[in-house]
Amino acid sequence: MISTSRPQIVLGLVAIAALLAMPWLVTSDYYVNIATQIVIAAILAMSLNVLVGFGGMVSLGHASYLGVAAYLTVYLTAHAGFGPLAGALAAIAATTILAMLFGYLALRASGLGFLMITLALGQILWGIAYRWASLTGGDNGLGGAVRPHPLGVDLMNPTAFFYFALIFLAAAMWLISRFIQSGLGQSLQGARDQPRRMRALGYNVWLIQWLSFVFAGFWGAIAGMLYAYYNQFVSPQTLHLTTSAETLLMVIAGGTGTLFGPIVGAALVVILKNVVSAYITRWLMLLGIIFVTIVMFMPEGLVPGTRRLRGIVRKRRGSPTTPALPVTEERPT
């Protein structure tokens, strides 16, 4: 089980304080917007981590939920006369229903088969978005969404939107951490490690994986809704394989099966993509080099890898007070 140690709580509190103080720490709206992008990417990566890290189900179609929720939010609010709240709720509900269907189809296979089905389903949606121009705007995308004014707060202000997105990140972290420790979350982790044994113990492994798939799809939809309001525009690129692959990269780089790993991974990828690309033309090459370095030196990802290295350093220093925790302590079931 994931245990929350004292340094982790302190680290969490520092991270929360830093996130809350972000708009004061950075003076430019540009960096506040980057922080918002990190928050949205982190929600998407955390949702994918439910499948990859805790379920052992590697998906290459997770952009589907981001894209479909984003398209629906923009379409419903800007072109179908829905209000911002109704449009967002309808988009999230419809995307969650889509996750039910995709889960039903994808979970007919496991391992590589599962990966290929999710990839194919994602590419079908990308094809629809790209070719059904009368509905989706085709390559030009769909625009016209206006950020809402919940409780009179103008979300056109970058700082206000950052805090708006942060509320969803906090909710995602809380609910996903609860999920991991819940009966369903533990069952999912058991199904990842010993599916045959789990069946013999009375668990319906398929149903457990499907429910978790839908749960992950729901959080992907939340990220999509935020993405739509943040960009006020959506294009087929949102549904493309590269978006799914990038999200998977965030999860793997940060550390699968950990709560904070996907957030760190999201920050890494978004910063490289947006900030570093402004200074280095070949930023994709740099991203590749960083990823290879992580895989070579911290194959378990940045968060568990850092913890492992910290443990090794402490051991070498001979610190008797806080012995290094085994990596497995962070990896449930």
Binding site: G190, Q194, R199, A200, L201, P332
Partner: protein
């Protein structure tokens, strides 16, 4: 006539062209201690896997406590009161022994589908798991990870996980395999403590242990039942000697 705990009729299972289980029919009354004997490749574990629902039979019917379970999944069969152990130990190696038993207990509870309820706060569940570990003499190792326990302790944990589910039909697949003499004695003692209302079907190669345990013995060879009867009958049957000694 009482309903048998297990009844298989005309059971077949082919792997490609190979008949692993061939026309097996067996009736195990409730409360009986049944022993499955036979050389490697006789089809004993395949028969167990068919009964447990790991894969479907090519032909034939399986009934557990009178209910036709031939098309039911493994988890549905478990909810009818069946539990099993594995020949090759199948545990959650990174977790503690206690957590393994909790997972076993949770398999029969609605809690397994609850996405919000923190299982760490289910005190009764953890208490019950601890009590089950005490039954098999592993209470003192409750908080140790499975990876850090000995082979014999893992075997006992397998049995604890099966017993935690309070089964009416227990399938034990070579529970004594690979154990030292002391460990075998411990497991034998443990098996003697299982209440008589639990029907036990056991696969075991050690004739001495097995014969002391069983009410009825079924000897298999090449996927078929060749001898069935009480201890004396089976030992006296020349086919048993043929299966074991080759003459």
């Amino acid at each position: 006539m009482t309903v048998p705990a297990l009844e298989v009729t005309g059971l077949h299972r082919f792997f490609g062209g190979l008949p692993a289980v061939c026309d097996v029919s067996m009736r195990v009354p409730a409360g009986e201690r049944r022993l499955l004997l036979g050389p490697n490749g006789a089809g004993k574990t395949t028969l167990f896997n068919l009964v447990a629902g790991d894969f479907p039979p090519s032909r034939g019917e399986i009934r557990i406590f009178g209910e036709n379970v031939t098309r039911k999944t493994a988890d549905q069969r478990t909810h009818l009161g069946m539990a099993r152990t594995y020949q090759i130990i199948t545990l959650f190696a990174k977790n503690t022994l206690l957590h393994n038993v909790v997972m076993s207990l949770m398999g029969l509870l609605r809690l397994r589908f609850n996405p919000l309820s923190d299982i760490r706060r289910q005190k009764t569940l953890w208490d019950e798991a601890r009590a089950t570990l005490a039954l098999v003499g592993l209470e003192h190792l409750a908080d140790r990870t499975v990876a850090d326990t000995s082979y014999g302790e893992k075997r006992r944990l397998e049995i604890a996980m099966a017993l935690a589910q309070k089964p009416k039909l227990l399938l034990l697949d070579e529970p004594l395999a690979g154990l030292s003499a002391d460990e075998r004695r411990d497991i034998q003692r443990l098996l003697q403590t299982i209440p008589r209302e639990v029907t036990i079907i056991m696969i075991e190669h050690d004739m001495d242990v097995a014969l002391a345990f069983a009410d009825v013995i079924t000897v298999m060879q090449r996927g078929q039942i060749v001898v069935e009867g009480n201890r004396a009958d089976v030992v006296a049957d020349p086919k048993t000697r043929e299966v074991y000694l080759g003459h």
